[in-house]
């Protein structure tokens, strides 16, 4: 319990310092786009009411989780195929690198052509943004698997899906996890970008709406919500990671327990 409280304390220390600094630095600010922190906190409860959480935040989070899930799945699937197959990698990498450098905002209209103005497009936008870090990290993770383990698999004729499941995916999992972590925050960003087009509700839509309506304290409060969403999801992510990479952290932490 004490250790838990300690961890919470450590996690909150820097944000607290930053908030206090911000509070005093912005107090009495007259700059229109940098309102005093006090104002932002003031508008927060009125802005993010239960009703708004339900009408704007919830649909966004649902889209986010769907898109993120598809992005991670696709990234791993493609990544394993490409990482394990040098020819396929040579064939596809330039095209994928080309696509990766295309700004999502200009990609959105193309997606609309294909998937319309509704939720599918918004989910697709998240996938299009979030898939890259998972893909790249999976490819590199699979490419870098230990040679002796690879030989062990071949020698013991461990192949097919069993090999994928028990060797390739596990060996690459530390790097896949990094990619998935990257994708998490990018997905939140893409959720906002996706809601810029054809949107009628959503967290990102609301934030941009406040910005257009020159409701700057409200906009900042929305930025807070995005950040908090990031922290929350990252926390959940850490729990999953602990389970998945139990062996990895174990193998590294045990030896360090010395000093």
């Amino acid at each position: 319990m004490i250790r838990f409280l300690g961890r919470v304390g450590v996690a909150l220390a820097l944000p607290a310092v930053l908030l206090v600094t911000w509070w005093f630095a912005s107090a009495g600010s007259t700059s229109f786009y940098q309102p005093p922190l006090e104002r932002i906190i003031e508008v927060f409860p009125d802005t993010w009411t239960a009703e708004r959480l339900q009408s704007d935040v919830l649909p966004s989070v649902l889209r986010l989780l769907t898109g993120y899930g598809i992005a991670v799945f696709t990234g791993i699937l493609l990544g394993v195929l490409i990482g394990a197959n040098p020819r396929l990698r040579a064939l596809l990498e330039p095209t994928l690198e080309f696509l990766r450098a295309i700004p999502p905002p200009v990609l959105v209209p193309i997606l609309v052509l294909i998937a319309g103005l509704g939720n599918p497009t918004k989910v697709l936008v998240i996938v299009v943004g979030g898939v890259w870090p998972v893909l790249l990290n999976t490819v590199e993770g699979v490419r870098g698997v230990d040679e002796v383990l690879a030989d062990t698999c071949r020698s013991y004729r461990i192949g097919g899906w069993l090999r994928m499941r028990t060797f390739v995916l596990r060996a690459a999992s530390p790097q896949i996890i990094v990619g998935a972590r990257q994708a998490l925050s990018i997905s939140i960003i893409m959720m906002v970008i996706g809601e810029l087009l054809g949107a009628t509700n959503g967290l990102g839509y609301t934030v941009v709406e406040f910005q257009r309506g020159f409701q700057i304290p409200e906009m900042w409060s929305g930025v807070f919500v995005l950040g908090l969403l990031g922290v929350l999801l990252s926390l959940a992510f850490t729990l999953v990671e602990r389970r998945v990479l139990n062996w990895y952290h174990g193998a590294r932490a045990a030896e360090r327990s010395g000093h």
């Binding site: 700059s31 229109f32 786009y33 940098q34 209209p109 609309v112 052509l113 319309g116 103005l117 810029l196 087009l197 054809g198 949107a199 009628t200 709406e209 910005q211 257009r212 309506g213 020159f214 409701q215 700057i216």
Partner: protein, 303 residues
């Protein structure tokens, strides 16, 4: 915070003088801003010691803060955005008219277009989805008024945001059933045989669409420059209004619209002065639509 655009854009410091003021204006690459390009070309600014540079941005979202911060000395924006800004005490003020509806609801530069011939009037849009470039803006405010005037209930119309360039595709694919577009997208849509069921002019024949604005800070520190800019703009607007062919030609210089396409566009009206009555009407509408709880203080906003 950068303020007043001091170090990077050296302007002159005194009042009216012999030195030239370097001025950057944030604009959108559309037909609406043709007068300022024409004015520059005609020397209306140079003769008032203003060296003009136009900077093209995608929309007001960036232009307003850029003017407030002094990145740009002047900016171009639709009036509804300006009214919203004013009501939130953004330190800006309109200094010149931008453009207006043509006065002819059948032939305007911004119109409500449908593909489905079954949709005859704006009232038929009930239950349908309409594309507007921005929600809570002059476009959707106008569309709602058009629907209301046609006897429909705007609350029954669904609006979605689609940038002008992407609207035609959305309508073509029936993702939306109507769209409000401005030139050159309007001409392109009409060329497909699509029909119009409303226009800016339906809201007010001389509806003020947009305006040039500056920061209140610039007005205080360089009131003289602002005055000269306003005069030059007025001269430019008058010139543009009187020379539609020159406008069509100018458009092809700052966009890549081809000459023949420019010839088919319906031009807006360029009044030298802000149509205050139409702005007041809009002011009422935005309260009706719930964009604002109280009307904006136009005396503070308008020149």
């Amino acid at each position: 915070a950068g303020c007043g655009g001091s170090e990077e854009s050296p302007g002159n410091t005194g009042g009216s003088g012999s030195t030239t003021d370097k001025v950057k204006v944030g604009v959108i690459p559309i037909v609406d801003v043709a007068p300022i390009y024409l004015g520059k070309e005609q020397g209306f600014f140079a003769k008032r010691n203003i060296e003009l540079t136009m900077e093209q941005a995608q929309g007001g979202a960036a232009i307003v803060p850029a003017v407030v911060s002094g990145q740009y000395q002047f900016g171009f924006s639709n009036v509804v955005s300006l009214m919203l800004a004013q009501s939130k005490n953004v330190p800006i003020k309109a200094v010149a008219n931008g453009n207006n509806a043509t006065g002819d609801p059948k032939k305007d530069f911004g119109m409500l277009v449908v593909k489905d011939p079954a949709i005859k009037t704006a009232k038929d849009l009930e239950g349908k989805t309409v594309a507007t470039n921005t929600l809570k803006n002059i476009v959707d405010t106008s569309v709602k008024q058009i629907v209301r005037q046609a006897g429909g209930d705007p609350a029954k119309v669904k609006f979605v945001e689609v940038p002008f360039p992407d609207m035609a595709a959305a309508l073509d694919a029936n993702r939306v059933q109507a769209m409000f577009v401005v030139e050159p997208f309007l001409a392109s849509a009409l060329a497909k045989g699509w029909t119009t069921i409303g226009a800016f002019a339906d809201v007010d024949p001389g509806l003020c669409i947009s305006a040039y604005f500056t920061s209140t800070q610039l007005i205080q520190t360089k009131g003289d420059l602002v005055t000269r800019f306003t005069e030059a703009m007025k001269e430019s607007l008058a010139y543009a209004d009187a020379n539609p062919d020159r406008v069509r030609q100018a458009v092809t210089t700052y966009t890549t619209i081809k000459t023949d396409a420019a010839a088919k566009m319906t031009l807006p009206k360029f009044s030298a002065d802000v149509n205050t009555a139409s702005v007041e009407k809009l002011n009422g509408l935005i309260v009706t639509e719930g964009l604002l709880t109280a009307p904006a203080d136009l005396s503070k906003l308008l020149p």
